[in-house]
Symmetry: C2
Subunit: 336 residues, 2 copies
DNA sequence: CCTTGCTGCGCAATCGGTTGTCCTTATGTT
DNA sequence: AACATAAGGACAACCGATTGCGCAGCAAGG
């Protein structure tokens, strides 16, 4: 039973015996909580360091009712998680969690099939949950609320009382679009992704809001949502060009990358024949020639922020219900 | 302290009290181990089901010296993990682990910086480790051996006594190349990825072995390793074409996808002007027109297999030192 | 000199399970 | 009827930490 590799595991009792003290003294020396002599404390700490003792988080967790684990929920369909955004965001979560001696447990949900998440939460395997993205009718949110597990959503949602960390996609897309309008563009097309994702809906709204404000016309024929494959993007691009679009607004880096490839293949010159902008910048497009006008966010920052916020909640610290992180508009040659 | 959401947690003692039995009886009813009456067992089980009691894995883990967690080690640089292969492979690991009530803890390593992995292992947070890929001089392997934690590597390695699950890349690449030679191709070029990855080195060797066997010449000028960016691939493609290559062998789906894009942009007709094959098939290239000759593996199977093998090790079951999973050669129009 | 108060530390209970041991019954054998 | 045997279940120890409580020792105050 158990694993033999733990054979050389040092317990708090071993340390206590070796030092001729009690377990409580060792525990207090480590935590710094409770009353303990300065000298004793240092003696314990130096012994621990030397013998490489690490408290068993399982035992620690049992007595503290903690797991020292956080569930990171990602969609199981690879299309999203494969994006650099997600990788960076997770890196941020991992870093921030590690700093608090926490680890990341993968929760994989398929669209709205949240059985894996349910198993993890109902088994009490985590202290909190970070949702990697939000859907329009996200079943995981009501479930998490009902189960009372603390959680933070990366992305926005209409559910009430949900702590959300997000970039201000509405404002960003609105601003970028407005700038392009100022530059004289009058006919836009939007090539968008899965409309089931909140972020995509918000980006569309920010975009449309700018058009409305500046009284630029657009019809549904110029809006191509749910472009999930390269073929979808190609079809959308073809139609948009035929409809006389002056500028293609790509909803994310994946779509933009596919759009660029399509345009190059057709020898449509970016900036001369057609302008193009992306609502999200990443290495998928950042090395392109000509350079691409895009919105820049910091996904790692997003992950770090979400994780830190979750820790605040776990520690009973009041947190803001909704935090909007900054963004940057990067005007490049593709819209010159 | 702790989390309030656990407030409604039902413990084994609650169940025992409600049924007028002892904790041990409940425990034995659940595990099926030890002596327990059939009737009692069913009474307990039905109560548990009805009241949705789930044993606390932390407590269970403490008494069994288990964590019910497995560390899934992935490279932190997004280039690899972003590939569909990795996503599928992880899905397999998650599925197989879930089936045994195990969960996946993320271990993120940056090239050979394995501090995160070390923290997880030395903190005893997992029962075993699955390495998502192997490097030529993989520092994580000697560390894992030394720490005595059971682990399985997806991919091959020269380190001794390491349990490895892999596709037979050597044989597969050798076979595909041989077939293409039979079809009359005499001048190949290889566009390859990071030579620090074992899989890439093995694919190259399988490829070269076929050429040698069939006495087809190739020089270092026709082998382009370490193509990490699209630009690298484009440069390699240009040079290969100039050198008179008849067939471009792409080492993986990412490279192949970039190669296809480059060829289309240059209006080089695939199959007519140049033949092309990929050592790995995925949706990055599977929808292409013309269809692409490629090697097909089952990454999910790989993940499942690795996880099951790890469980065997944990359960003291003898396992094969090295398992090679099957592959399939898919001849399509790109090499007609 | 006795009381008060504080400090440092050990004892033991606790977290929620698992499992070896022992006691009580029911069953089977002669 | 007497006894051996097995089965079912309760008890308590244990996994490795944390933490409330209490006790000893010492300094300060009256």
């Amino acid at each position: 039973m158990g694993n033999e590799y733990i054979e050389d595991k040092v317990t708090i009792e071993d340390v206590a015996n070796a030092l001729g003290t009690s377990k409580s003294t060792v525990s207090r020396a480590i935590s710094g909580k409770g009353r303990i002599g300065k000298e004793t404390r240092e003696r314990v700490l130096s012994y621990i360091k030397e013998h490489n003792y690490k408290p068993n988080p399982i035992a620690k967790g049992l007595s503290e009712s903690k797991t020292y684990n956080i569930c990171w929920v990602v969609p199981g369909d690879s299309s999203m998680t494969a994006l650099p955004f997600f990788q960076r965001c997770m890196a941020g979560v991992v870093d921030a969690a590690s700093a608090e001696n926490y680890d990341i447990l993968m929760g994989v949900v398929y669209d709205n099939n949240i059985s894996h998440l349910k198993r993890i939460v109902s088994n009490h395997k985590v202290d909190g949950v970070i949702l990697g993205r939000t859907l329009i009718n996200d079943e995981s949110i009501p479930y998490l609320i009902e189960s009372k597990v603390p959680f933070v959503a990366i992305g926005s949602t209409d559910y009430k009382d949900v702590v959300q960390i997000d970039n201000d996609h509405f404002k960003a897309c609105n601003e970028l679009t407005s700038i392009l309008i100022m530059k004289g563009i009058k006919k836009f097309a939007l090539i968008g992704g899965d409309s089931n994702h909140v972020v995509n809906r918000t980006r569309r709204e920010g975009f449309l809001h700018a058009l409305k404000e500046q009284k630029i016309d657009i019809t549904d024929d110029d809006i191509f949502m749910n472009c999930l494959s390269d073929e979808d993007v190609e079809r959308a691009t073809d139609t948009a060009l035929r409809n006389g679009a002056e500028c293609l607004m790509c909803m994310d880096d994946g779509i933009c990358s596919a759009t660029i490839a399509k345009l190059k293949r057709d020898e449509v010159s970016i900036s001369e024949d057609i302008k193009i902008a992306s609502f999200y910048n990443s290495e998928l497009i950042s090395n392109n020639q000509p350079t691409i006008t895009a919105l820049q966010y910091d996904p790692k920052e997003l992950g770090i922020n979400a994780c830190k916020t979750l820790f605040d909640i776990l520690n009973g610290i009041e947190v803001e219900q909704k935090v909007m992180l900054s963004y940057e508009v990067q005007l490049k040659s593709s819209t010159q």
